[in-house]
Every structure is written in C-alpha cells, then in structure tokens.
C-alpha cells in the first residue's frame, strides 16, 4: 500500500512538528501555508518554553508542571492530555536542543532556565528573548531538510479555504487558493492537520500577526467541526500599545526581575525616574506577595485594569503602567532580554535599560479552538488540529511558556495519529466530494468578485475589532456582550453589501482578506455568544456580575457548532476530565 498522504495546513511550530513526524514515519506530506513557513506567527513568541527538567535543584517535577498548568487554567482543561504533555516536555526540550536551538546556557554548558508566571519554579528554557523564533527556525530547518530529500512538498502562498468532505462527511482533502493566481484547487489527502494558530485579528489590534485570523478554524466550524471554549481569550498584561498592533512585551521581562508599578498619587506629572521609591506603588507585589509580578496573566491583566480604571492611576491618566527593568544591570538584560528591549526601543524610542517601559494589556492568545479528542482529531473524521488552533491544553488561562510546548507536543501527537488514521481509511465514495467543494468555493469567489456594494472590508474589520475589544476581553458584562453580538450580526449584514475596490485576478490581497473577514465574523459570534452563556468567572473569563467560579454549572467545555439553518452558533457543554487533580479554589493572593 502506498504511503498515506497527509496535508498539514499551517507552518508554525505545531504544523512543522506534525510534518517532521510524518516525514520521519515515511508518510507523504504536503504543507500549506499563507506565508513562507519561516515567517509564521510562532516567531513572535519571546520568553521561553516550559519543561520540568529540574536543573536548578528546586525539586521541580512534571507533576508540578502539570498541576501548575491545570491550576493556572482554572481546571477547565481536560487533565489527561495535559498530564501527557507535561511528561513529554523534558524530552522535547532535549530534542530541540539537539536540533541546534541556541538556548541560553549555564557555566557548565547545560540548559539555563528562568521563572515564568503562575509557577514558583525555574522551568522555562529560553533562547534570549526570541525563543519562538529560534524554535521555529530549528523546525523549519528540519522540514527544509526533509523537503530537500523529497519527503515534504511545500505550498507556500496558498490559503486553506475548506476541507473536502465526502458524502459520509469524511475528510478527503482540502480546497485551497493560490494567493498569486487566485486559482482555487482541491488537493486529495487521507487526513489533514490544521495548525493555523490563533484568532487575534477578530480583536482588530492584538499581539498576533496579520495571518492570525482564525479563518481556517472558522471555515471548518462552518463545515461541522465543534469549536470549543471560544470565550477564553488571553489578554497579556504587558503589551506595547500601538496604532497598528499591540507589540508583546514578554513575561520574561518580569521573569528576570521586572517590576510593575504606578505612581501612588493620581495625576503625578513627574517622569518615571524622578519618582522616588516611596511614591511608587508595586501593586502586584502588594496584592500577591507569593507570586509577585509573576502571577498568571489573567490575574495580572485584571490587576492592571483595576489600577488604571478603578484607582485612576494610569500614567498621565492614560491606560498605561510602568514595567521597570532599570534596576537590573545592563549586561544581564542584554544577555537575556535583548530581543524584546530592542523592539521597545525601535517602536517607542526609549531605552528600557534607562527608562521604565509603558505597557498595557493586549489581546494575546486563543485558549479555545477546534474541539479535538485525545488523539487531536476533530469531530470531522480525518481532520486533525494542533497548536493554538485547537483548545485542549490551557483550559481557561494559559501559563506563560506553555504555548510553545503545547504547539510542538500537539504537532507530535497529531502527525502519527493522522498516519494511523489514514492507514485504516477506506476508499472514498465517488470523487470524495472534490468537484462539489471546488464548485462551492468558486461560487463564493465569484459572488465576492461581482459584488458591487458600498462597504469596505477593512472598515468592517476595524469595527469588528473595536466592538470585540471593548466588550469581550478583560471585563465582560452580559449587556455589552449582547451588544457586541448584535453588532457582529449587523456587520455580517453589511458584509453582503461589500465592495471590493480591487477585482483583479492576480495577488489580490484584499480579496483574500475579504474572504477571511467573513470567517472572522462567524467565529466572533462563537466567542461572544460563548462568553454570554458562561455566567461565572474562570481564568481569563471574568464577569463582575458573576465574580466566582461555578464548578457545578460550568466545569464544562463549551462546544459550539454551526447551525446552518439559523446561520449562528449552537452550544452544548461537555464534562471536563478531572481524573488526576480534584478542582480546588484558585487563589494567587494566598498560599495555595
């Protein structure tokens, strides 16, 4: 029998991990990516990757890593796969090390580790402050090697439009669009792995890259895949506010000793360096003496919101607080954080070695995603998902430096599982649904190209981002969420009246964006409606009307499915696997 053919969509850490496993197992793999895979969003990850290797003599264990992850995620994650990930993590770090990732080192030549949020252990391996970039490059190099050996075929500059499903609803390939010729084609495969990252673009401005639109996940959701825990969106406490995007300021800045503070008095006009110690309020250290500046992200983000909006202590009355590194010596800063300090210096103009940085929370990570079983397969047979695109490793809040691990681990699981699935797959009925899917997608393109309305897609997108950021991020009120959902419905209505100012058939980026926009609108509703339904506060999801966690009603995975008849999401809830650690209250302000 011929080697099974697998298609991987997305060339970030998860996608590349899957590709490597498949190539290694002798599978035949095609890799689709919008951008050259080396430019995927994984490059933006900064601080590091977690694994309990216990090289600092602290008695860290994979169980503690597991416990921190579950506790940090407010018990919403299914525990079995998280436990397996934490156990696999140390060997994955070794593998990455063998692949040549230039991790920072100790004097003895061993891996160096630093502390990250939501843990008391130094568990985060890092390569300066550009760890994601370094990991992605290592995997990219391995894939290039397999590509040179003819085991992998790359389709860079192609956009996934949909899965090709046969008459039994089994995946038989994908439909994709060539972003230069704008030609739509279907590709046959025995299984597909979707590793298309997060959905930051629905919030307009976020720390995510331009390609992180969630379009692929949304397309699959509209084809029948469950989308799980969509309402769990991580807002990173420390981002650099910007007009075009919010640039991440890594948690490693706090991991290396960075301190968050504001002036104690409202309207203090002095410059940061002129404000003496007694006049500074290190509110995180005061409120959370045990974890200090390294509380989990949702906790830090809400604290900053509180200080700014309730105490009115934002710098110059603006929504910003100080993140201060100036007390750390410059050599250490340069060795361990240079990458992020340069970003700040380039985009803001101040040297963070000399002046405290001005930061504010920004949308950062999608905890939710395509629902998958413990084999990384969605409810559509033959469609697997891995990385940020799926939901299963972070529960209600992701701990810093766990995402890189979950991406690689998820890819490593999805690859072999897809091969095993493909080997047992029976032949497709008829043409496997290729012709009809191709016709459906071509029809959609034709419709857009000939639409002669008045709406500009980029303006619709801007309004979507504004409404989502305002109503469905840190503090959520049901009334506001309802407003946001209504706004999305209005935007979807206006979308039907779209006007493409560019109707050409060559490298038409605004056409591709407009297609993504529709999917963004659909997935936004999943996020908003999911948030509305969850009347409790858990992890990143915080409702002042329901400030407590409610395990009785909501220790459940939210599963949204697309109701084509009503053109809206329907929801069901699934029990969470708590086989290993019984849920306990999550309190970072007291001893746990």
């Amino acid at each position: 029998m011929a080697a099974p053919k697998i298609i991987v969509v997305g060339g970030g850490l998860a996608g590349l991990s899957a590709v490597i496993k498949i190539a290694e197992a002798g599978g035949n793999v095609d890799l689709f990516s919008i951008v050259p895979v080396k430019r995927s969003h994984s490059v933006c990850a900064q601080g590091g990757i977690n694994a309990a290797k216990d090289l600092k003599g602290e008695g860290d264990t994979t169980w503690k890593h597991f416990d921190d992850t579950i506790y940090g995620g407010d018990f919403l994650a299914n525990q079995t796969p998280v436990k397996a990930m934490c156990e696999a993590a140390p060997a994955i770090i070794d593998l990455l090390d063998r692949m040549g990732v230039p991790f920072n080192r100790t004097a003895e030549g061993l891996l160096d580790f630093r502390r990250f949020g939501g843990t008391l252990y130094q568990r985060t391996a890092f390569a300066g402050a550009t760890t994601g970039q370094q990991l992605l490059y290592a995997l990219d190099e391995q894939v290039r090697r397999h590509e040179a050996e003819g085991k992998v075929k790359k389709y860079e500059g192609w956009e996934f439009l949909s899965a090709v499903l046969d008459s039994n609803g089994v995946a038989r390939g994908i439909c994709a669009m060539n972003l230069r010729t704008m030609e739509v084609t279907t590709f046959a495969a025995d299984a597909i792995i979707v590793a298309t990252g997060g959905i930051g673009a629905i919030f307009g401005k976020s720390t995510n890259s331009v390609v992180c639109t969630g379009s692929a996940q949304s397309a699959l959701y509209q084809q029948g895949a469950y989308y799980a825990n969509g309402e769990f969106i991580q807002v990173h406490p420390t981002a650099i506010p910007g007009e075009d995007k919010l640039r991440l300021m890594s948690e490693s800045a706090r991991g290396e000793g960075g301190r968050v503070w504001v002036p104690r008095t409202v309207g203090d006009k002095r410059s940061a360096n002129a404000i003496p110690e007694p006049d500074r309020w290190y509110f995180l250290e005061e409120w959370y003496p045990k974890y200090g500046n390294l509380v989990p992200r949702d906790v830090a983000t809400r604290a900053i919101h509180k200080v700014v909006y309730e105490h009115g202590l934002g710098i110059d009355g603006q929504p910003m607080v100080y993140l201060d590194l100036t007390h750390i010596d410059k050599a250490t800063l340069n060795r361990k954080l240079e990458g992020i300090l340069e970003i700040y210096q380039k985009f803001v103009g101040d040297d963070p070695r000399e002046v405290p940085m001005k930061i504010f929370p920004g949308m950062h990570y999608t905890m939710g995603g395509l629902w998958v079983d413990f084999n990384q397969m969605t409810n559509i047979p033959g469609v697997f998902a891995a990385g940020e695109a799926e939901y299963q490793y972070h529960g209600a809040n992701r701990l810093g430096a766990n995402s890189l691990m979950s991406c690689i681990y998820g890819g490593f699981q999805a690859g072999p599982n897809a091969i095993a699935y493909a080997k047992a797959l029976k032949a497709a009925p008829g043409d496997g649904g290729h012709a009809s899917e191709l016709a459906r997608q071509q029809e959609m393109n034709r419709g857009l190209m000939t639409s002669s309305g008045t709406e500009n897609p980029f303006r619709i997108w801007r309004e979507l981002g504004e409404t989502m950021t305002k109503n469905v991020t840190v503090i959520r009120h049901n009334k506001n969420i309802q407003e946001a959902d209504e706004k999305i419905v209005e935007l979807m209505e206006r979308y039907r009246n779209i006007n493409l100012s560019d109707k050409s058939q060559w490298a038409n980026t605004s056409f591709a964006f407009t297609r993504q926009l529709y999917n963004m609108l659909q997935i936004s509703r999943v996020v908003a409606r999911g948030a509305k339904l969850r009347d409790e506060s858990r992890g990143a999801h915080y409702k002042p009307e329901f400030p407590e966690r409610n395990d009785e009603k909501f220790l459940k995975t939210t599963k949204a499915s697309y109701a084509a008849d009503a053109d809206e999401p329907r929801f069901e809830f699934e029990a969470v696997d708590t086989a290993h650690i019984p849920p306990r209250p999550r309190r970072y302000d007291a001893a746990s």
Binding site: K153, W158, T185, T186, F187, D431, H434, A435
Partner: protein
C-alpha cells in the same frame, strides 16, 4: 483519489519571472579564479609594485643611480622569464579578470553612501585607472622608444621626457595614487576575505596599517615623480653610465652637466 486542477505542476505559487539564481553548490571554477585574482594582486603583483616603487625611488639619487638600479634589475638571472611569468601574465590576468569582476558588480553608493561601499567602488575605479595606465605605461616605457634593458642608462631621460608633458604628468600622479590606493586597500581586502582579520576591530586596526602603507607608497611614488620633473636633475642626458655603487648620492643641487658621466655616442 481524484483531484481537480493540475496542482502538481504548480505547487509553488506560480513563478514570477527570474530573479537572481540560487547558489550553484559545488559547481564551476569561479572560486579558484577569484582566489587567484585576489592572491595575484598581493603576490606577485603587489610585491612587484613595491619593488618598482623602491627602484623608482632611486631616481631621487639621480640619473646614474637610477640607471644602476635599472641595470641591476635587468641583470637578474632569467630576467625575461621572470618578467613574463611573474609580471606580465599575473598582471594581465589580474587586470582582465578584475575588469570582469568589476563589470559584474552593481555599485550603489548613491543609495548607500557608507564607507565600505565607497571603498568598494573606489577599488573598482582605481582598478580601471590602473588598468588603462599600466597598459600605456608598459607599451610606451617597456616596448616603445629606447629599449631600457639594453640601455639602462637611458631610463632617466626616457621617463623625464614622458613627464615633460604636463598631461602625462597629471596621468602619472593620478595613476600613482590610484595604484597605491588599489594595492593598499587590496591588502586590507585580502586579509578580510581570506579570513585573516575576521574581527571588526581587527579589520579596523589593520585598516590603519594599510592606510599608512598606502600613504608611504604613494608618497614614495610621488617623490620619485618629482625627481624627474623637479629642478635637481633637469635636462638629464639621454643616457648616463650607471653608477658603480648603487648608493651614489647626487652632488649638490645645480645644473652642471658635469655631474653626469655622459656617454658620447649617445649624446643628442
């Protein structure tokens, strides 16, 4: 498994015309040719240049000393073979391959007016100047007029006649500076490109060394030119007897032709 569309033929997003071609790994001889070019600039051409400048410097001691130097060089064993193998062939190779290299570069100092880029361009322009200058210099001084290997005593006069033309003098001055520039920056480039000075600081320091060398060489060269056009040895006779010792000091300045041992049969 049917697929629609001819995706196999177009798996990369359709090509958009040719750009710069990728590395031809392990193919061709350009590495060897380029390295020979680089090396030949130092040895033997650079070595010859130094020799030539030192020899010319003898001109400061007067026509007789200069003649003695020319005679000495021409008395070297196998001098004609050496001349062809160590001078003409390497020089021709360095010149022609150098032009080939220079023609293929696309200088962009207008957009990127950075020091290294200026030097890159200057290396090419000084190379062109040297090429043209040396070509005429060899033809006119080595192969036309009085044959100096046979008449070393005529060397001073021959050069003096050449430099009597102010245009020619200008050419010599410009070419002297260009050649010394090309050579001293060439040494710097050699050290950088052969991995002798990989470090930024090392390159900078060596840059000062090369600058000093260039100034010394150009200074010597210009001083020699001055010897031919200055007042000291005005109207040198067409041929002098080479001095017996090569360390003959010229007599005090003056225009007394008695200073020269004139050879009657060559008197103009």
């Amino acid at each position: 498994m049917a697929t629609s569309g001819s995706n196999d033929a177009s798996h990369s997003p359709s090509p958009v015309g040719r750009g710069v071609e990728p590395l031809r790994a392990g193919q061709g001889n350009s590495f060897l040719l380029r390295k020979l070019h680089s090396l030949s600039g130092i040895v033997p051409i650079g070595a010859f240049l130094i020799e030539h400048l030192l020899s010319n410097f003898e001109a400061l001691k007067g026509p007789a000393a200069y003649a003695a130097q020319v005679k000495f060089l021409n008395s070297l064993p196998l001098v004609r073979v050496l001349e062809v193998c160590l001078i003409f062939i390497p020089l021709a190779y360095h010149a022609l391959y150098g032009v080939y290299i220079a023609m293929r570069g696309k200088a962009n100092v207008i957009y990127y007016p950075w020091a290294g880029n200026w030097m890159y361009m200057m290396q090419r322009w000084t190379g062109y100047i040297a090429f043209v200058y040396i070509l005429q210099h060899v033809i006119r001084q080595r192969f036309m007029g009085v044959s100096l290997p046979e008449h070393p005593g005529a060397a001073f006069h021959k050069v003096q006649m050449e430099l009597a033309n102010p245009w020619m003098l200008a050419v010599y001055v410009i070419a002297m500076i260009a050649v010394c520039w090309h050579f001293s920056y060439g040494i710097w480039l050699f050290a950088a490109k052969w991995g002798i000075t990989p470090g930024v600081k090392a390159r900078k320091r060596f840059g000062y060394v090369c600058l000093a060398l260039g100034i010394v060489l150009a200074g010597m060269g210009l001083a020699s030119i001055y010897a031919f056009v200055g007042p000291d040895y005005k109207n040198a006779p067409a041929e002098v007897a080479p001095a017996q010792s090569r360390v003959v000091a010229p007599a005090s300045a003056g225009d007394d032709s008695n200073q020269y041992l004139t050879l009657p049969f060559l008197d103009a």
